[in-house]
Symmetry: C2
Subunit: 340 residues, 2 copies
DNA sequence: TTGTAGGCGTTATCAC
DNA sequence: GTGATAACGCCTACAA
């Protein structure tokens, strides 16, 4: 089924059908109605490939996700969902592309084959070769997270550094002196994963500023790792009375380790962090946390990308989100057992 | 950058470049090398839209997922990941399309606009209008799950009916007389969600066959619902000593409710089910369950779809998977308190 | 072994 | 208000 067939059946030329559809030229109501009728009858829709070839754009965006074998975190999943939603609203399709070495061909297909009009890049590293590749190819893109030198690129990120700092301050205000940071995995940090490194910085700065003693622990993104990590903290530094976490996937593990150690939250141990609202509320007791606005981020990323595609000469924009810390029930004054 | 430019710079005709790339005609090694050099230099890759237009296929498949607002279960996520992986292996791109009423335009774009060569449809209903739409459009598709009348369609599914039956048998063998089925949500059942309805049937049949008393409870896909559901079961039917579940997302809730009621698993209450391996192993104690082979299903679905696309006249194939029940630690003999 | 040319289905320019 | 036609970039049948 193509536009020629519609034209024939409606007794008009192909261009008239095209214009009736696009509205870029006036078409008499009668003709338009006749055409529409044929179209409805045959479920006609312009062939996407032909249109893309002619217009030089695909009406599709690429979403590059972390290698899905290492499972997506809840936050990332929410983000993907919101990108899908926002794209759908804007009549854009989404080509999902896994990242990682084994998928490099897929990435190149996407970019060099011009399968998409623009790309949203998740889980960016401080130094990221994909950013260079996209730049070189002249493909519009928005990164989630930002590189070490994000000048000239469009991005959306969460201010992990500032948020972790505020978490530490909150603990300091409540009398905690020895606190831990439960970060993402050592591998990710070594690999230059921005949020982890910025959490690290924010923690170190705040600990120094408020005169606390801080211990940083990396932790893989799953419950067993969280369990082991908390156990280690309790063993190695029993003086620690509170922890800041940016590792939502490990939360269920924290719960188990604390319970096993006979520590109640928040009476014996305070926990605060940055997490998806879902996980924060799922924790028992509900976790005091800065809720990562993943849904908003997805929508913003699509919005920015759309602007960028529409005007490639536009000045780069970015968004550093700093959601408020929701006070729930996982933080209290420091236990005073060891003090005085 | 297009094929003509490459041809010019390599001093050959466009067709020679095309043939050098496709290998469908012999090209002298020297010419080939010269062409390859220019291609590497310019990062040339054939324009996907032009190629799709000419060849009549897009080298892209569509993956239609449940509305992502109602979040994906772990199993579904695993499935999406494995489809992505398998497609990537086969040099296919994946267009992710959300399902649901508000996204109907996106679905039609996909199908009628011929943006994809074939579609994988997740979370099929017993009566599913999308199946009819795909059929009508002559678009190859594979469903995950099968409709009430799946004759002539390609599908992959898990034998929920049989598996739930085997779970009940296992409980019966261990002396349980009063058992519950914790199913998916009432809404999904009312909506004709196959796995839920087939679990229902399998449960009813097996309960009758082994002379047990069975109680079926619907339960939404999240922890709080699981908590509430188990509490209800314990209240309404204290005689129940074991439950079969097909609702993995609610498992953490079961844990909480049982713990609160002072019931130990499996000493006081046995639990068995069908779930993603991840959730089964995450449960405490590890859940005896048929582990849904989501990864295998994704790969098989892509494989089937590829065959179907390659030969549209091929006889429909399907796959009804029945993974073994892994004995873990959540089932024991019925407690005998109330008996004798 | 290589070159020429037509057409895939659209959109948009030009002509009426 | 509408029709004819060129072009988007590629693949491939045909010609040399």
């Amino acid at each position: 089924m193509n536009i020629g067939e519609i034209a024939k059946r409606a007794g008009v030329s192909r261009s008239t059908v095209s214009y009736a559809l696009s509205g870029k030229r006036h078409v008499s109501p009668e003709t338009k109605a006749r055409i529409q009728q044929v179209i409805d009858e045959l479920d006609y829709r312009p062939n996407a490939a032909a249109r893309a070839l002619k217009e030089g754009r695909t009406r599709t965006i690429g979403l590059v996700i972390p290698p899905p074998v290492r499972r997506l975190t809840y936050m990332q999943l929410e983000f993907v969902a919101s990108v899908l939603e926002a794209a759908s609203q804007a009549d854009l399709d989404v080509l999902l592309s896994p990242s990682g070495d084994t998928h490099a061909p897929a990435f190149s297909r996407l970019i060099d084959g011009r399968r998409v009009d623009g790309v949203i890049l998740m889980e960016i590293r401080l130094q990221d070769p994909r950013v260079d590749q996209l730049r070189k190819a002249g493909m519009p893109f928005v990164t989630i997270g930002h590189t070490a030198h994000p000048e000239g690129v469009w991005w959306v990120d969460v201010d992990y550094q500032g948020l972790v700092g505020r978490c530490v301050k909150h603990l300091a205000d409540l009398g905690h002196r020895d606190v831990a940071l439960i970060n993402r995995s050592a591998e990710m940090l070594a690999d230059g994963y921005g949020p982890g490194l910025r959490a690290q910085q924010g923690f170190a700065q705040a600990v120094a500023q408020y005169g606390l003693t801080g211990f940083e622990y990396p932790c893989a993104d799953d419950a067993p790792a969280g369990d082991a990590c908390v156990e280690r903290i309790l063993n190695e530094h029993p003086e620690v009375t509170a922890a800041v976490t940016v590792n939502e996937s490990a939360l269920p593990g924290f719960q188990r380790a604390l319970q096993r150690a006979g520590l109640r939250v928040p009476a014996d141990f305070s926990l605060i962090g940055v997490a998806a609202q879902h996980w924060a509320e799922e924790f028992q007791p509900p976790l005091t946390s800065a809720d990562v606005p993943a849904v908003q981020m997805g929508a913003e990323a699509v919005q920015l990308l759309t602007e960028y595609i529409a005007d490639r000469a536009a000045a780069p924009k970015h968004l550093l989100l700093s959601p408020p810390i929701s006070l729930r029930d996982s933080v209290s004054r420091a236990r005073t057992l060891e003090r005085d």
